[in-house]
Symmetry: C3
Subunit: 362 residues, 3 copies
């Protein structure tokens, strides 16, 4: 179970102003709604401020503006009844994020190599690596100091895992893949499988194009579960620093992704697509091959990028949800849209003529 | 190979009325079209009734109404030529489903622990568990009686697998995950990986929010292959009883799913989405974060739920398939829809004025 | 590292006309843009012809028509400055594809069985198989000569892997699956998991339909990473020869796919869908259950096939990407499309009447 910390320790770590008992023991984090005695909650979103009143949290991280409402000076008069301790921060959500690691329940990796692990003689292991059962590390691979390889993980020949990585159970990393420092990869993900490259051979068959590039991933990248990052056909697939990638993401061969991008579940980039820095692909937002997206672009859920984007901002596509019986009637019209547009133009022309004719008559 | 059973045994098990030879040996199940001698077929869908005539099945499960047609009294006169034995049931499809287990070809799990399995001393194993090669069970995990863990499966610390579970090869279950009784999880699936939680740190970087919740899955849940169910950020991700989940499904952190829901391939729910009982997400139907769906809702294939749904029923979105050259012409109009709607309004106003003017003149 | 080959050897293998030094050593392949000394590039797409001028490649595969431009006779005068050796082929891209294997960096599989592999006594292994660490091969499975099974791969009972297969690390193949000759399966993929078959039992619960069919995959099929191919409910799921399948693809129970089809990432076919020969599903193109697609059909990215297709050609669905603020205005109109169509019809009728009335008056 997680240890407990004093509220004073937490306040000091966060640089928060504490109003309340600094010796209070905090054994967990939770939402305002679900927190109980001994737990710390936070108010990050205005719309939950009414929950302050009923929260059973022993302490809450909040912004000064909410504190005002606590004292009755603000508009959130309903919340004046919260009686617990408070930690005052400009950005309560960031405070919660920062302290969350203290309460992480994941078992700490214990340095050592499980006797069932199969490590090639030519592989190089840094200090204090923690290598689980049935891990396989192939020839000339390099595992950085402090890194953890979960049970059944596979690291291919000549691949490099930087320091303080966390490679979960049953991850597969092919040969000639380079991960930076502090990279996390969740279970079931596959990095460095062949890109989808085949040439029609002129007789109706597909001829495999061997994928001779690798994968380069920067520092502090997190990759979710069941995600695939393919090796390059020629040259490397490249992901910058600080990129966060969710589950079931597809990053095809020779994709290039800048720093600090976020890719939500089912999002993907097809071959040789390029995305700048600080971009966000929401869930199932996909990018076709060979297009370029500039910095600071957001694609909303299920958006499909079929052309390059040169201007920062938010882009969308797709049809809103309707009751199925309404949708049937509207969807059939989508096949008639071009015809409708032409008919509308025609109607406008007739009116225009009628008007002209009226003017002539008048 | 599957064993053979007498038609009488099968009729008794299903509670079906048998017309034919009870000693007939049935060695397999198949469709009307493909069944051969010694095989049992079923007629569950009216549109296949004409196949009765040509079916080589030795016996068929059907409803009394089809039997009438067998005797020439019904409208399906063409099917009168079927000469085999029949099992009469109100719901032939359910009968087929019930007897299907008798003909399952999956090897029976043999209780025992493979010598290559790595089981923590503090783990607790129920009676008659069957643990395959290279399985890893971490500290304080609990495996219920009669459960099967396929080769290479990983069970994290303190996780609990209920009785009579079937966890296939290369499944990964992280720490602090609880599965109920009779749960099946197919290969490649990952339960309990970190939810996709990061806070912008104010300097352009993403700060990881440690995911300190767990996962709670009810009884008789089936999870397909390469599916992910993330652990909660705070509190647990929760799935009710009797839920069926296909391949490549994404269930994000703190999602709550009621009982007896069905989630087809590629369907998913983003963070903190809530879905009631008896809901169906068809293939690729996705739900954005923080929305709530009431009981008895169906989302058709590729529907995207962006707002809460409070009324039971079927909902859809999306554009029908067209020939690409037609689609190009129609799709471009979608960017002009708002303008078209305004032009239509304008045309109507002009006509209205013309009519008023005509009335005035008249 | 890859070996080096003489340009003469490569020209002879490709049947290319060589203009330049046949003894030149080529140690790698690359794009025109990125190639350096000792590397071979290719010009397959007209739009990159201007890169010839600046390419540092030691040799380039190109078509005779580009050679003309090399000599100044063609329109690509800018490219006349390329001074390296050339290999002349009708189809430079195919030439690149054919020679790519020479430069593949994947470690060659070394025949032998790792001592940690768990092979059932009744399994049958062909000559020169290469079986990695922690591989599990179950009873009565057959592994063809020259095949490679990567670390942690699982081959279920009675399954057959043809000759010269390449099954990557952590692949799972269930029981009664048959793969032809020369099949490649990338990591994380699962073949033969249960199809998604359940019958409503009349009391609100789902009753599992045991999936007693198998999977049949032809020769020279390549399957990407994290892809699922389910076993049949009754009878087999079947994939023809020469089919190429990308990552995250879903092929449901009893799907039938013809020869030489290509399925890009996230594409999928639901239960009992049938697709002919030489079809292409672009990224995220999905096919609902029980429909039939004829030969030579292409579905563009994210197309959703909801009805059978009987005519070869390209089909599409979906809405183009827009700026989110434009999209909001247009998307709301999609719920009004049927009403708009009726209003447009009404406007046309009024004009028609006005015209008739005008004619009568005139």
């Amino acid at each position: 179970m997680p240890e407990a910390y004093s509220l004073g320790e937490i306040a000091a770590f966060l640089g928060a102003e504490l109003r309340g008992d600094a010796t209070l023991r905090i054994s967990g984090l939770n939402t305002l709604q679900d927190a109980g005695a001994g737990q710390l909650a936070f108010l990050a979103n205005e719309k939950y401020s009414s929950q302050l009143r009923s929260s059973k949290a022993s302490a809450v991280i909040l912004a000064a503006k909410h504190l005002n409402s606590q004292t009755g000076a603000g508009r959130d008069v309903d919340s004046t009844l919260y009686q617990g301790a408070v930690l005052i921060l400009d950005n309560p959500y960031l405070g919660y994020a920062r302290v969350s690691q203290w309460f992480d329940r994941a078992p700490k990796a214990v340095p050592g190599i499980h006797p069932s692990a199969v490590i090639a003689d030519s592989a190089s292991l840094g200090e204090a690596v923690a290598i689980g059962a049935n891990v396989v590390v192939e020839a000339d691979a390099v595992i950085g100091a402090g890194s953890y390889l979960g049970a059944g993980a596979y690291i291919g020949a000549r691949s490099k895992v930087g320091e303080n990585a966390r490679i979960s159970a049953n991850v597969t990393i092919y040969h000639d893949v380079v991960l930076g420092q502090g990279v996390t990869v969740h279970s079931g993900s596959v990095i460095g499988a062949d890109g989808f490259g085949f040439a029609p051979d002129g007789t109706g068959n597909w001829l495999k194009i061997y994928q001779i590039g690798g994968v380069q991933i920067g520092d502090n990248v997190e990759v979710g579960a069941c995600t695939t990052i393919d090796r390059g056909a020629l040259g490397d697939t490249r992901i910058g620093n600080g990129v966060i990638v969710d589950n079931h993401v597809q990053i095809a061969h020779n994709v290039v992704i800048g720093d600090n991008c976020a890719l939500a579940a089912y999002s993907g980039l097809a071959g040789s697509a390029t995305m700048g820095n600080n971009c966000i692909l929401a869930g199932d937002a996909c990018v076709v091959g060979h297009v370029t997206i500039c910095d600071n672009v957001q694609i909303t859920a299920r958006g499909l990028v079929t052309k390059s984007i040169t201007e920062p901002g938010s882009y969308s596509s797709g049809m809103p949800l309707m009751k199925t019986r309404e949708w049937r009637k509207n969807a059939v019209r989508m096949s008639q849209l071009d015809a409708m547009a032409k008919r509308l133009k025609n109607v406008e022309l007739i009116e225009e003529q009628a008007k002209d004719s009226g003017n002539e008559q008048g």
